[in-house]
Symmetry: D2
Subunit: 235 residues, 4 copies
């Protein structure tokens, strides 16, 4: 998210074609300290307003336990990023609140390690954990990551927790998002995180992997066809 | 394949639910020299007879260029296994025949290397090459390999060659084959290689990853639902 | 570290054969929330006393920025563990103090990402950063990790920061520590982290990878032979 | 090897500073069919002459079993390249001769798989197998491969077969060859394969990873210092 206009335009477009939750990065974890770091609390206020306007839930990434209280005023779901999957202080702190936590798999975390990280939250008494497959690091570098689609049925068998997929970060390339989103649903995913930007070519970050609202609507149509093959129905 | 009865039973069952090609390993490339090595030429004769009876094509793995002539009497499609993806003598020899070649991606081959190996066959004048994604080796060891579903849309973009997926070898676990087969189709695969065995629990090799004919029929039903989402129709 | 007797015995033994710094885990980052989690602040006091007695420096792992002030009373060097290599809040906080930071490479972090994480500390004004190669995650699972010895000469070329190696965590197996420690020195490492335990078979954690004091002394003898090949001398 | 003058210059230079075996690629396995493919049998004759002149043994890569007889006239040791580590027809054929075989680890082969491939040769009755660690494929792409130094002590423990290292292919960069060669010796390697070229900047292939004869001599001096740390002496 970059500006009130941008966030509103996207929220309106995606809510019309079936999205239920708005994710927006108020704080951006960046590999380099010199890259764009997000809008901060002001950003969260804007997200909250846009979400309320279009009856969406808000999910946003928490990077340190010191942010939990402030962020709790604005977000419905806390996201723990891949880089923090084994930040046990943060996980324990999130075990003591009652809001849902979206826990992303670390870039080189095994499925077992992801489940054990979830255990840090669950063992504190917060049972609202959503797991997220977002791509692992392998020797194949044509795309940014290798989206481990097989992790979806594996987790469905090992755990009662819901598992969603993030094909935007998992591929890093706009034209690869729809096929991988369809694959995730066909493999049994409980949800998808899809980056949408009303003007991806001018996005401040992650533009290369964002769909336009029109592309997103087309993807939703395809997913509605696939869903019955796994015993689901998308309204 | 293990016996005439076994191959006939499987051929009949799969042909009824939509399979078009019969794959059977007459020669098995085994990591250890002390494991079951396949039935050899006698096996190929049995496959050919079973295939003719149920109007199926035959694909079987060639492991050395010295086998090409003999195998050519029985098979319609030559398979090059993952371990031989960069056996350039074999690839060049297959470039000089006219039968189709199913080229499996090496366990740690990049997409680019797979395409360059195909080039060894194409540059000899044999343009009938089918690529196969069969799982890559990563740090995740819960399943035997990580089926790189994203390789499917990547190859669809980079090459005109058809790309199929092998979820049986790509997962090594029977219950993971259907979700990954559905995912491959949803991502745009042109075909699937599925191991089917009429009595998987007593198979001499690969039993743990083989579907029963009933499970295969159920999978075909699901795939028929998914196909229209990628603009295809399965008769 | 587990008890005052144990820490004293180890501190005495290693200081006699050439060690200069004592590392001890007061807080243990464990993959499972149900495993032994360390002795906490009481542990730090014991380490400090043992170190003072044998004129050693103390290094210990900090897991959250809330621990920095308390730990600063006891430790000379803060260690950032592999799981926290991209915990940017922690890195920034460590950039604002003046004590040295030992930054361990993440299990799947590229060399470039390690250097960029160091940049988070350096950009805050703390220039005392020591990098540490401790093994990466690969498909090879015979040992716990693959110690990336080549990262040592690569980092020596790309950065002015010192680089040390941790063959104990990098292999997870006692008998593999000496050969990998020798290899690291031969490749140009500026230091080594070696786990030593006076009774490894009864250690509460990491026993399988700890040398006995006698094995450590033997290793130091071998390293004294190698050092001149890379223009160094160990007193 | 590219020309008689080039091969003679290198053979003379390396034999003076301690090399005992001359490796030269008469046939080059290239990822692309359109790259320089080697000099063939004429190349082998030139290598043999140069080796005889300076009392060196000859090792060269065999790519298909049809080459064994012809190559046997010129080479003392057959090399099996990483791409052919699981070419079982080739391995079996080499089990039936008596010349030593240098078996290189596949780019993504586990240590166990390497030992099982050696078993294909040994089970035929040829016990002269030399294993070679030449780098594995990982997510780290700063260098061409990750030289798995730990494989050396692991193999020393699991097998009686000698294990050598190839830091030239394992790094792909001239300045990284000496540190990794030293590391391999310090870890217990029984030998080294080092690319040397009298004019690396104009080499037709692998120039970027070749040492000059002067750099090679310097490396030998360093290795003579390290050898006693592992109980060896280099004459």
């Amino acid at each position: 998210m970059e500006s009130p206009e941008q966030i509103n335009a996207v929220a309106e477009a995606v809510s019309k074609t079936g999205a239920r939750i708005l994710r927006a990065g108020a704080f951006k974890p960046r590999t380099s300290p010199y890259a764009f770091q997000g809008l901060g609390e002001k950003g969260l206020q804007l997200i909250r307003e846009a979400a309320d306007k279009f009856k969406l839930f808000v999910v946003s990434e928490v990077m340190d336990l010191s942010q939990i209280e402030m962020m709790g005023q604005y977000v419905d779901i806390f996201q723990v990023g891949a880089r923090n999957m084994q930040n046990y202080f943060l996980l324990r702190a999130l075990g003591e609140i009652q809001k849902p936590v979206l826990l992303k798999r670390g870039m080189s975390a095994t499925i077992e390690e992801l489940l054990l990280s979830a255990e840090y939250i669950l063992s504190g008494g917060n049972y609202n954990v959503i797991l997220c497959e977002r791509g692992i690091r392998t020797f194949e570098t044509y795309l940014r990551n290798t989206l481990d689609i097989a992790a979806i049925p594996v987790i469905k068998k090992l755990s009662h927790l819901p598992i969603v997929a993030d094909p935007s970060h998992g591929t890093g390339r706009r034209d690869k998002v729809p096929p991988m989103a369809r694959a995730a649903v066909a493999a049994g995913a409980d949800g998808l995180l899809i980056e949408v930007h009303n003007d991806p070519d001018h996005a401040l970050s992650d533009g290369a992997q964002s769909l336009t609202p029109v592309e997103f609507a087309q993807l939703m149509t395809e997913i509605r066809i696939i869903a019955p093959a796994v015993g689901r129905r998308i309204p």
